[in-house]
Amino acid sequence: MASISTKIGNFSLENPVILASGILDETSGSILRALKSGAGAAVTKSIGMQERKGYPTPVISEIKTGLLNAVGLANPGIDNFVDEYKNFPEKKRTIVSIFGGSVEDFVTLARKVEGAGFDKVELNLSCPHVSGVGSEVGEDLEMVEEIISSIKTKTNLQVWAKLTPNVTDIVALAKASEKADAYVLINTLRAIGVEIYSRKFSLSNVVGGYSGPGIKPVALRAVYDVYKETGKDIVGVGGITTWEDAIEFFLLGARAVQVGTALLYEDYPIYNKISRGIEGYLDSEGFSKLGDIVGVMSGNAALQSH
């Protein structure tokens, strides 16, 4: 049986299928359930400095090609988060997603995350529907650079930078995030949903993030562009619902994938389904390990060794 273990920065995972931030990861109980159901790791819902209720419902809208959401970064705030996770048994397999409006916010959050016994953060530089944070920060190249280098200097955390696809040049964003240990590509696309009979927007916030099958071609392009230019470790995310989708991301350079919206279609069994599918593909195509296919379509072999 081919090995599907992988490594992102210094983090070794037994399997490369990770729960994406914001889907079924607001509570510690659900994070554990995802890990028990076969996720190789899990990212928490994005945590900020203060408790935030998020937007009023409707915060999600199912469409033919995926999902629109504007949950609005609802989260209990970092202190309540730390409190809830005091005796949490899976800190090493959990990546804490954080968001903030300034370098100081991010550093404070990162320090608290480290203090709580976690060793990895994912920086949400990309939420498309909350002003003053997320992609509004993530589009400011200098600030991104400073956030990441500050966290890297002031903590020992592994840092994953989650980038927004809603830009002209995602490679420039990636380069500004160069000090991160890995890139997470991509967050949702900025989008709108309309209800034609009520003539109201589908989401209370009007603008939301688009996820699910419909965004996969855009996510693949982001992974391809960034891998070719940087050769860095990449976690692919966006529209993965089958193991075949995951393989596409690996071939372009991703070393792991995150799965979010697909939980809506297949629920918790999806982790094992995708993992078993990847194994099956490697076996039948004659590869002994996942690393053998990472980036093979991006012609960047020199950068593939790990």
Binding site: L24, E26, G54, I60, V71, A74, N75, P76, G77
Partner: protein, 249 residues
């Protein structure tokens, strides 16, 4: 988002309404909708009848329920769903235990499967959807027995094969703390938590990693007993843990 036309709205008591709408929903008793007041909020609401015409029965708490209660015949009624699992099919002797608007959800079962109905409310004016033979308790004794519906029910627990429960979390907690765990009755409980998505992805309704909206809303008593958070605390809209008044962490 789907929509149907309102057939009519019946006022059941001072603040409880039953809205009948014309749909061909394929729903089972115990399931719920996410109903929407356009431009306003989307909220979960159990079906109080799952056959056509389908109905919901609700108390007007806030903005959304008030707006919905003002709909007129022929107006559009927006919703998505049905979501959640449904009550299992009972055999033998059946009891229903309803607290507050919990009777709405149980009513859909009652239309299909007869049984003894235990209803609890604060006062006489809070009662609704009553039919002959219902065993009633009120906190103030203004109708039926004075006391809680659990007090009324517990002595009879062992008489039943199936018991279906829907009501406030503290009422349910009271029941499962006190009922004989070895009772022959199969007890099923419909839980209620803050719901944002209704389809199992936002995690706002989860209790110990179990989603009320998708893994439930209906659980066997054994499942509920395993939820260490149940009856002790719930989560607010930020996902923050909030203790119940008499809960402890």
């Amino acid at each position: 988002m789907q929509h149907s036309r309102v057939i009519d709205i019946v006022k059941e008591n001072k603040d409880v309404f039953t809205l009948r709408f014309d749909s061909n929903l394929d729903a089972s008793p115990g399931q719920f909708l996410m109903i929407w007041s356009p431009g306003g909020k989307e909220i979960p609401m159990s079906l109080s009848s799952t056959s056509n015409p389908t109905t919901i029965t609700f108390r007007t708490f806030g903005e959304t329920t008030k707006t919905i209660s003002l709909l007129k015949t022929g107006d559009r009624f927006y919703y998505r769903g049905p979501y959640g699992n449904s009550y299992p099919k009972p055999t033998g002797k059946v009891a229903y235990i309803a607290g507050g608007t919990g009777l709405a959800s149980l009513n859909a079962m009652l239309l299909k499967y007869q049984g003894d109905v235990y209803v609890g409310a604060r006062t006489k004016e809070d009662l609704f959807l009553l039919r002959d033979g219902y065993k009633i308790t009120t906190d103030d004794g203004s109708a039926g027995n004075k006391g809680t519906v659990i007090d009324l029910f517990l002595p009879h627990a062992n008489e039943y094969d199936y018991v279906f429960v829907c009501g406030p979390e503290q009422m349910v907690k009271n029941l499962i703390d006190r009922v004989d765990k070895k009772t022959r009755a199969k007890i099923y409980i419909s839980l209620e938590r803050l719901m944002k998505c209704g389809i199992g992805i936002c995690d706002s309704c989860s209790i110990n990693g179990i989603r009320v909206c998708k893994d439930g809303t209906i659980f066997s008593m054994d499942e509920v007993l395993k939820m260490s958070e149940f009856g002790l605390y719930k989560r607010n809209e930020a996902g923050k843990i909030e203790l119940f008044v008499n809960g402890k962490r």
